[in-house]
Amino acid sequence: MSRSDVLVDAEWVEAHHGDDGVVLVEVDEDTSAYDKGHIRDAVKIDWRTDLQDPVRRDFVDKAGFEALLSARGISNDDTVVLYGGNNNWFAAYAYWYFRLYGHRNVKLLDGGRKKWELESRELVTDVPHRASTHYTATAQDSSIRAFRDEVVAAIGNLNLVDVRSPDEFAGRLLAPAHLPQEAAQRGGHIPTAKNVPWSKAAQEDGSFKSDDALRTLYRDEAGVDFGKDTIAYCRIGERSAHTWFVLHELLGQPNVKNYDGSWTEYGSLVGVPITVGDAS
């Protein structure tokens, strides 16, 4: 896996508008952004209503993912190009879903919606019609998803990368600064975790930093041991999906998992160790 396999730029998107077998999908943190304007022919996935189980705290199951992609007119062989706002935060989360359920050809638009908008490229409000398909997902790929017991077992053994802001890492905030402060029962971080805020992987326009800059950030500055397996977490597993993309898809680290339970689960567990305070 390398950068050219998993990222496309705006010129690529404009050159492939209308191609059979290429589907643009917008996934935004602000789920109303699509309705105000989107890239021509893009369909929308709502991370909250489409990707989450409506009752339990979990993802849509395999059948639900199949129904979603079938309804959006996405086939197993299609090249899916995901994009969204806020440095592709939620697009990267959706990318991880597509990989989790075995979609072969999925990419991110580098820089996402923000870079596209800041470059004053075309946005339309027309919603495309795509004929429904019969999408078939694979079973979840457990090699990229971590659960709480393996996170506890990883303390002091594997790389734990906490991708939240320094204030959340230290325990001063329980949620990102653009959200109300409601979350886990306790603040702080998982002992031995390194703090590399997810956004450090992106440049100001939302595109990813170079591979060299990313290696420097994680390995040389934060001390992530590239010889060990890694688990990334944030508050509910969305920002850490972005970091998973960087470590696993861009830098080609072989064993990287996203812990989607993240701090809202870990910080509410009874009896697990917690460290408070800034990174040393």
């Binding site: 109303s32 706002g85 802001s165 204030d167 001063r172 990102p176 805020p197 450090k200 509910i236 969305e238």
Partner: protein, 101 residues
């Protein structure tokens, strides 16, 4: 308002009038007296590191729930527009600012 996710509130920001136990920083972005409809507001900590970012609402508005302290607000908009403001946040207070770019 999302209560279960990292997600931002959907749609236009509804200005807060009572901060409760929050430290709210909110405001509006204008250009030549008109509302800026397309753009982004980001909050940087005192070390210059990114903390959060929101797209501007339909009325050019933004809102952050910060921790007490001094922050930098950075506004990005098409045409290479980039504006920075220093702002302080306090618990129980709504700090309002208008950013003319």
């Amino acid at each position: 308002m999302s209560s279960d996710g990292c997600g931002a509130p959907a749609g236009t920001v509804v200005a807060a009038t009572d901060a409760g136990s929050q430290a709210i920083v909110q405001g509006k972005v204008t250009q030549n007296g008109s509302t800026v409809l397309t753009g982004y507001a980001r909050l940087l900590n005192s070390g210059g590191d990114f903390v959060a970012e929101v797209p501007l609402g339909a009325d050019g508005s933004f809102r952050f729930f910060a921790a007490p302290g001094t922050w930098t607000l950075l506004v990005l908009a098409p045409g290479g527009v980039r504006a920075e403001r220093t702002v302080s946040a306090d618990i129980g207070k709504v700090t309002e600012l208008e950013v003319a770019v």
